[in-house]
Symmetry: C3
Subunit: 139 residues, 3 copies
C-alpha cells in the first residue's frame, strides 16, 4: 500500500495545525479513491474544520478546554494528561477523505488539522491510499 | 471511483436528518466493500444512531447544546457559530460503513444521520465506494 | 469482502474493553491496506487510546460521565439511556486503521477499545478488509 509519513511540531499544549498541504503532496496526480490519515498518538487527534478565520480553531480549543477541564479532582492517571486522552477519543485519530483526480474532495472552507492536546511535542501523521471502486467494475 | 452526491435541506439550527435511504440508493446491488460518506461543510457533521424513537435524536441534540453552549463570552469568531464548528469536529464529517451485497451492514436500530448544527441551510453529502479485499486474494 | 465478527461481553454500564488482539487475529499475514472496524450498536462505540495505564480509560470514562450526565430533566427518551446514545455519537461506531504486512499500524501506546455506554450487554464488532492502493499502480 502506498503510504507516507509527515512530521508535525507543536509549540503549545492545545494547538490545531493545518496539515492539508503537507498531506496533499502525498497524493499521486491521477489517483481517485480514499486517503486514510492516521495519527499514532494517544493525546492528539485529527479533524477537518474551517481554514479561513483562525478564530474558529481558537474558539474550538477554548470551548473544548472548558468542556473537558485539564485539572479535576477525580483524575487518577499519574501523568496528569487525562483530559488530553479524552479529547483525543472525542476527535478521533483517523480521517477518511475522498480523493478525486489527485485532490482531496474537501469542501470550500475545509482544512485538515492535526490537533495537539498535550504539547509541545514532536508528532507524526501518516497517509495511506485506499483503492476506490472503478466505474467500470460496478455491477 | 464511483461517487454520488445527495442534497439535504435543513429547517432548524440543530437538526438530525435520516439520510439512510437516500444513501442506500447509491449502492450497486452486488457491491461489497466500504461506503465512505462525506460532509463537505464545517458546521455540520454525520453520525450513526438510533432510528426508532425520534426522542433519541432530540435528547442527543438537546444535551449536546447544553454541553457546547451556543453563546459564550470567550467566543471570538465573528460569525457567532463557533459552537457549531466544535460540534462538527466532535461528530466528524466522514463515516465509513461496511457494505455487503449492496446493503449497508448497519445494526438493527442504526440509521445514518446528517447533523445540522447551524441551520437552516441547503447542504450536500457525498458517497464514495471503496473496494473490499476479495475473499480469493487473502493470503 | 473478507469480514469477521467478534463477540464482546461487558459487565458494567460504562466500560472500555481492549479488543486489539481479537481483531488482530483476523488480519491475513501478508495483507496491507485498511481495516474497517464496525460497531452495529447505538449505545456503544469504538476508540483508540492508551493501553498501558488502566487509569487512562478509567479517567476518560469518569470525565465523559460528568460531561454527559446519565440523568437530566430534559431527557425524553423512555429507555432512559439518552446519555449513552450521545456518547456513542461522540466516539463514533467505526474505526479505520492502516494495516501493514498483516499488522495494525498502531502507535506504541495505542490499543483498540470497544466502548460500552449502556451495559452490561452482549455486543458484537465486525472487521472488514479494504484494499490498499498497490505501490505499482500509482501514477
Amino acid at each position: 500500500m502506498k503510504s507516507q509519513t509527515i512530521e508535525v511540531s507543536t509549540c503549545r499544549r492545545n494547538q490545531m495545525v493545518d496539515i492539508t498541504r503537507d498531506l496533499a503532496s502525498a497524493l499521486p496526480s491521477a489517483f481517485s479513491g480514499c486517503a486514510l490519515i492516521y495519527c499514532p498518538h494517544t493525546t492528539a487527534g485529527l479533524t477537518i474544520n474551517e481554514n479561513a478565520d483562525p478564530d474558529v480553531v481558537g474558539d474550538l480549543l477554548a470551548q473544548l478546554d472548558r468542556t473537558i477541564p485539564w485539572n479535576a479532582p477525580h483524575y487518577r492517571h499519574s501523568e496528569g494528561n487525562s483530559a488530553a486522552h479524552l479529547k483525543a477519543s472525542l476527535f478521533g485519530c483517523s480521517l477518511s477523505i475522498p480523493v478525486i483526480d489527485g485532490r482531496f474532495a474537501l469542501g470550500t472552507w475545509q482544512g485538515v488539522y492535526f490537533c495537539e492536546f498535550d504539547g509541545p511535542r514532536q508528532r507524526r501523521v501518516s497517509i495511506h491510499l485506499l483503492a476506490g471502486l472503478e466505474e467500470e467494475s460496478r455491477r
